[in-house]
């Protein structure tokens, strides 16, 4: 699958983690950009269209949840796959969040960057197939 054209936005206030995720996605052939809080991420997302958004949940200024809500309210991001990363013990609420916000996948920290890459690829394949089905 040709993923070179796919653009991923990685949002995490934990800079080190954002960087290593970015590193893994870069290695997998994604075109990536990082943001360190929700507000900056939203700004970046509105400037450029991303194919997939990977965001941490707990961040200053704008949380991952708020970012998801903001993105989903935009038509250009209504179908965009979103992956939520969380360091909090919110595992029990994840199914609800996934349903309400249309979050496609969640990862509890600590997570494996390669698993993120794999999920990103799978999600992009699924989204790419959807229009054909319609």
């Amino acid at each position: 699958m040709d993923t070179k054209a796919k653009r991923a936005l990685i949002v995490d206030d934990n800079v080190a983690l954002a960087r290593v995720t970015q590193f893994a996605l870069d290695k997998a052939g994604f075109e990536t950009e990082t943001a360190f809080n929700g507000r900056l991420a939203l700004k970046a997302a509105l400037e450029t269209q991303f194919d997939i958004v990977i965001t941490d949940q707990q961040m200053p200024e704008m949380t991952g949840i708020e970012l998801c809500q903001a993105l989903r309210s935009r038509p250009e991001y209504s179908d965009c796959p979103i992956i939520l990363l969380t360091a909090k013990g919110l595992e029990l609420e994840l199914p609800r969040l996934r349903k309400e916000l249309g979050i496609d996948a969640t990862f509890a920290k600590p997570f494996s960057p390669s698993a993120i890459v794999k999920t990103c690829e799978e999600l992009l394949v699924a989204t790419a197939q959807e229009p054909e089905c319609v």
Partner: protein, 609 residues
Amino acid sequence: MFRSSSNLGFPRKIVAYYLLFCLIAVSWLAMGMLMTAHKVLDSRATSACLARLGKTAAALELEYLRNGPNDFQKILQSSQWTNGLQNCSVVSLEGTVLASTDVNVVGQSAIDHKGQQLRWGNVSGIQYQEDQGQTISEYRVPLIAHEDHFGSLRISVQQLNSWSTLAEIARVAPAVILVPLGLIVAGGVLLARLTSPLAQVDSQLRHIALQRPTVDLILQPLPAKDAISIGWNRLVNALNQDHSSGTADALSSRLAEAVAAREQNGMQDILHNFPDGIAVTDGEGRITFANRAIEALLGSETTDEELAGIEFEGQLINKSSSEALRDSVFEGAAVLCPVVTEIERLGDGGGQRTLRVARLPMENENQSGHVWSVRDITQQKLTEKVRDQFIDAATHELRTPLSNIKAYAETLVTCEEIEVEQQKKFCNIINSEVTRLARFVDDLLCISSMETGSIGIQRQRTISSRLFEEVLAKVQPLMKQKSIDFDVQLPEKMEDIQVDKDKIVAVLVNLLGNAAKYTPAKGRVSLRVNIDEEQLQFAVVDTGVGISAEEITKVFDKFFRSDDPRVQEEVGTGLGLSLAREVIRMHGGEITVESQIDQGTTFMATIPI
């Protein structure tokens, strides 16, 4: 004794004793009378005899002077006729009977009897037993005329014996004996009549005494004769009326009520002093009982009496902030089902209280209703919240470095095409994350150990300027990152101080780090330090989000984190201030905080050096 005398009633005994004593007394009197009569009769016979003796002697002496002794027999015979003289003889000095009432002995020698000598004035005598066994007293008077003693006059009298006395008395005996006997018998009859009601009362009481205690009392009225019968009958009537009107039943039920009330009072005391609120409501939900905890819960001004009849459920949740809650709590629950729920309620002080309310149905024959148990679990909830905050913070603090370590380590392992420089960089990151993790665990252990007293501080001579250089080196990057105006005022003369340097540095870094964290970008943070001979004083002043009055008392509590969203979005464990206070306390100093919400916060510490 009791058994043998039980045949004879008390009143009959009285009569019997009365008769016995009367008979003894009468017998005693009769004997006394017999003896007295005997003496009197005896003495009377003697006196009469002596009187005749004297009279006859005088007559004989006169006759002797006139005519000589020849007509003595005539005189004696005439006296015999006129005076009833008997057994009388005139005896000459020679012992010959000159004259006698018994003509057969005249001219014969007089018999001198032997016996007890008697003497009455000039009268001498002798008492002797006759052949037939009768006692005879013979009295002798000398016959003297002109000093011529010419003989003696002898008279014999038969002494009265007991039988002759009895024979004498027998003539008056019917009057003497029958009258007292008649009176005694009459007295006995009267006494028996008077005590006959007593006899009946006595027999009834005796009967009751022998009955078992459980058997009902049955008392018979007496024929009304006197005060005792009338009194007894009134008593029996009163008792019977009590029986018939059920007074005994009423009494026993009152007694049972009193016992139950006493037990109930004991239970009520226990319920009143129970720390949980306990209330009982009737079928309509109105309060019939509420303990002190409920009174305190529903408002300090409400008393037990005022609560009675009030609709409880409304009272409990009418001040609740949530309308939806009010509808959902008990409305849906079936009346007969136990319900346990937690409700939020505005307390007296205006703060939200969390109550756990249990409602249990209570069914008995008299009434249906509910028992309510209300427990204030606000404190418990707070503790749970603090614990949750800690777990939340700890999870984040642990997971963030762990995530980084795992991500970098895995990337190092899985990616084959990584440059050496990149690998080194990744390893450094892993190293620093491990350090961060270790520090968090250290902090946690440190505060725990300091609280339990297992570790202390180690004061050492410290160059104060070096200490502050170390602090500033650590916090200045944080200030720069948020473009905060960081103002440091150190004293001109920096004395050496005796403190646990590492821990004081940690405290200052923590306070300044907090100031940087909770002050918006381009705000202002000041550190003012003063050192004199005795103490080190410093103040950390920021223009940050501030702390509300409600929360300011808790900021030094372990794991406490403010509810303010501006604080929540920052990462923190809630351990920093707790640790700072512990370190300063162990130095013998103190730390205080002043804050104005949205204006800023000032921490001031004084540490003896």
